[in-house]
Symmetry: C2
DNA sequence: ACCTGAACACCGTTCAAGT
DNA sequence: ACCTGAACACCGTTCAAGT
């Protein structure tokens, strides 16, 4: 027997998947359960769709990851200020990038693994290079300056995020993780008593504060180094290098 | 019918797996085919063993990855010099770390994702902190200094390795990758003509040289920033921060 | 144009069983 | 002590078929 009622209505559940919705749901899943938990099947399930339906909107899982990664780049400029000198802009950017990457720790293995050429990534690049351009950097130094800021923040946040992932897995208690790690480290650091002493000296410090201070210290180094190069350039000194000034040609 | 000849000899193939051998073979596979290509089954096959045999020596695939990662840390001190000031030591270290990470690009998503507490990682940490300690850094600044060097190198090498992976996949021709990327970038950078102009300005430069210069520039910034902090500390100035000197309390 | 299910060729890991 | 095979519960992706 046939009837309107036996035949299911045209589209019972979601009013059609689209790319934005898929990306949004993927991010939610990633934030909640991490990189390993994202599978096309699970994601499909969350969207009331077959796993394979996603392949209409997205060529491959890897492509989906590029999309969510670009979304993260979009957050990097969330709370940075437009005004102030280049140093203020970079400070604001660096902290925004740090916050975002800590919030989306799963993004860290993705960033740097695939090229940053999504629209949001390009916006970020454009903003930073223009800032350094206006600050007075010339030629390739403008890109190098951009690169060092991005590199530092990425590299600094990576261990922070790893630590966060571990504490979340371990039940959220930072002190417990510390306690669990201590004997492990004690054994491994048998030949390095200095390391153990240092580790113990953290005992009564708030780890979150230490990490923030460490980030700030490193960021300060980078920005000071950039300022020094800007000065030298303005006063027409020699081009800069990692070797200390005056030692470029080690008089043989 | 039974006989010595019908019964296979005690151990026909490998004289027994061991952890070192497994780790070595895993690294060979990773170097040759990348992170995605490493599976317990494939690795077992390469060792003339059942995939599940590996689980006697290694609790889990993740644990195996920790082992190979620590091996990479071991290479970081391959060609750095013992003598010279802290700056020379850090230069040598940074370049050794860069070389090693570019050679083992698969290690980049692993590093920072899991804690660096293997024996080789601890050796590296110990060496760097001791160097900064002797250089005159005090208290937590010693660890912060170590952290900024490690962070910078890691963050700087990540995109380099990504680029290398892409060119290897694309057949090894750097210029071809550039050519393939240009239209892609042209479309994406519609709203950012400055970016496209910059990209085109690389045209006649050797990408390897540009990357090396970029690395050197950033490393110089970091080391200069550290040197400045060391000076300030020696002369008893205020503790350092990412904010520029004299702007710590923005007089409201 | 968009979605589905079945199917293919893989995974990591467990475990009882062998030597 | 060390290794194996079968088995479980997953993967990403393809593709002919549906609406």
């Amino acid at each position: 027997m046939e009837s309107v009622w036996t035949r299911p209505p045209r589209r019972p559940k979601a009013p059609g998947l689209d790319r934005a919705q898929i990306v949004r749901e993927a991010m939610a899943l990633l934030d909640a359960e991490g990189l390993d938990a994202l599978s096309m099947r699970r994601l499909g399930g969350r969207l009331n769709a077959g796993a394979t339906s996603l392949y209409w909107h997205v060529a491959t899982k890897d492509e989906l990851l590029e999309l969510v990664l670009d979304e993260v780049y979009g957050e990097f400029r969330a709370h940075d200020s437009e005004h102030g000198g280049w140093r203020e802009v970079m400070l604001g950017f660096a902290y925004a990038m740090r916050d975002s990457l800590i919030r989306h720790a799963w993004a860290i293995p993705l960033i740097g693994t695939r090229p940053a050429i999504g629209p949001q990534a390009l916006r970020v690049m454009s903003r930073l290079t223009n800032t350094f351009d206006q600050a007075g950097f010339e030629g390739f130094d403008t890109e190098y300056a951009t690169a060092v800021v991005l590199s530092y923040v990425l590299g600094a946040v990576a261990p922070e995020a790893a630590w966060k992932t571990m504490t979340v897995r371990g039940g959220g208690d930072a002190q417990a993780v510390r306690a669990a790690m201590r004997p492990l480290l004690a054994e491994a650091a048998a030949g390095h008593p200095d390391l153990l002493a240092r580790f113990d000296s953290y005992e009564h410090e708030d780890p979150a504060v230490l990490r923030a201070l460490s980030f700030d210290f490193g960021l300060g180094c980078v920005l000071d180094g950039l300022a020094a190069r800007l000065d030298r350039q303005a006063t027409g000194s020699r081009p800069s290098s990692a070797r200390p000034a005056g030692k470029e040609s080690p008089a043989s």
